[in-house]
Amino acid sequence: MNPAMTPVRRLLFWTLVAVLLLWVLLPIWLVAMGAFGGRAAVFQWPKSLLPASLSFDHMAAFLAVEGVANAFLNSVIAAAVTVVLSVALGAPAGYALARYAFRGADAFKLLVLLTRAFPLAILALPLAVGFIRIGLYDSPFGVALMHTVLALPFAVLVTQSLFMGIPRELEEAAWVFGCSPVQAFFRVVMPLALPGLAATAIFAFVISWNEVFAASVLTVRERTLTAYLLAVLSESPLHTRFAGGLLLILPSVLFVFAVRKWLFTVWGISGR
């Protein structure tokens, strides 16, 4: 805290901090109330911050609705496949950019950055046509392919800077001691890069978990959770929608909390 601040200014400062904290937390709290309060809470008038009947039954009832469990599972599959693909394809490319000076490196980087200028989810429209032809339409794997387009550029940029932070000398020392380059990578570089890679993977998971448009366009029956919620939005009662909203929010907030230490390394890099 800046010692030069007068008490009055300090009070104003912390009031503003508190207001902004409340601004972020209140909507999450209120949608949780809607999810755990059921029908009665939604139509309670006027509302109180803690509704009369609060129980897990309402949330359990939502999870038992036909299609919800399947949608949840599809979301998990799509996100898991997105994680595997974006790290498996992105990390080698990031490593190449970090360790080698080669002709075409700039062109490749341009291709990766070019994805930024496009609303990528929109590409799901032509992909839907192509996916029908090759049998990937209406499957979490097709959705994962699309989501990997969103997560891959992020993975390339983050892993590049991750590998740049690991001294090349460590690898060279391993070579001197008789490791092949592949062994040196997996025994020396990998353990050092693992926490950053894990953080990258988690953000890839969250990117896929949260995506709505492409998932909706690429599925009909095998909906992901977001696509399912969007499809039933207009015909489902309010408390169901709130339960769905909370179910979407919780896992990704917990995941990002788990890697909060890496938030700025990861998003800071890819944002530059």
Binding site: M1, F13, V17, L20, L21, L25, P27, I28, L30, V31, W45, P46, K47, L89, G90, P92, A93, A96, F102, A105, V112, T115, R116, A117, P119, A121, I122, L123, L125, P126, A128, G130, T148, L152, V156, P181, N210, E211, F213, V217, T226, L229, L230, L233, L238, R241, G245, L248, I249, S252, V253, F255, V256, L263, F264, W267, G268, I269, G271, R272
Partner: protein, 282 residues
Amino acid sequence: MAPKPWVPYLLIAPAVLFLGALFLLPLVQTLVLSLQGEGGLSFANYARMLGDLNFADALRNTFLLTLVVVPVQIALALLMATMIARIGAGRDLVLWVWVIPLAISDLAAGLAWLAILQSTGYLNSVLFALGLLDGPTPWLTQETPVVLFIGIALAEIWRATAIVLVILVAGMQLIPKEFGEAAEVFGASPWQRFRRVTLPLLKPSIQSALILRTVLAFEVFAVVYALGGRNFPVLVGEAYVWQGENQNTGVAAAYAALIMLISMLATFVYLRVLRTPREQMA
């Protein structure tokens, strides 16, 4: 060890092939789909898009939302980032809470604000308690377009300010503390230090935040649907309807091509206007 020149190409090959097949190819396919007519190339899909009842509204709404939401997000994130820089104890906790929305889907954000803005929701309860309202009142309809717009804008600002904040805080960490301290020694006020030192050095971060947020703002969709359904047409929403309900990929692709064009133009403008001369690069 003998250098093997093909190694880096082998390493980037999977990513290049993937982006070629699932980014560049669909990009071209979108344009082809949008130009496909009955008997060859035609602008029929574009004509249908332009003649669509919702087209003008969708275009106007999308632009209005972007014009309102993006500047507010940048300003709010700048405020939060400078505040973070002044917090000592508790900094990490405050920062963590402020970036929570980063993890939240636009659909979920829309649903969270629906809990506040629905007719028997929390906003109306507060207004009722203050004596400003007689009873439950619907706000998210076509009859109340201004409130609907404000609600959608608030939800978008709530959700996506966090990513701007992260980019700006990461950018601020790169600015040497000595710069601000030197300015202070020479008698610069906090506002002057912000205007003359922080802001210019933060320009690259602001530029990437602007590009990222503007492109995503033109893609706004799920927040709008969660709050107002079809009451507030936006471009991506129309593409979704043409693809799903109307089963007409051609017109949907025309919408997609238009959204791409707008995003590209916006990116281009930002790159030109906010160009950082080489000698100023941090």
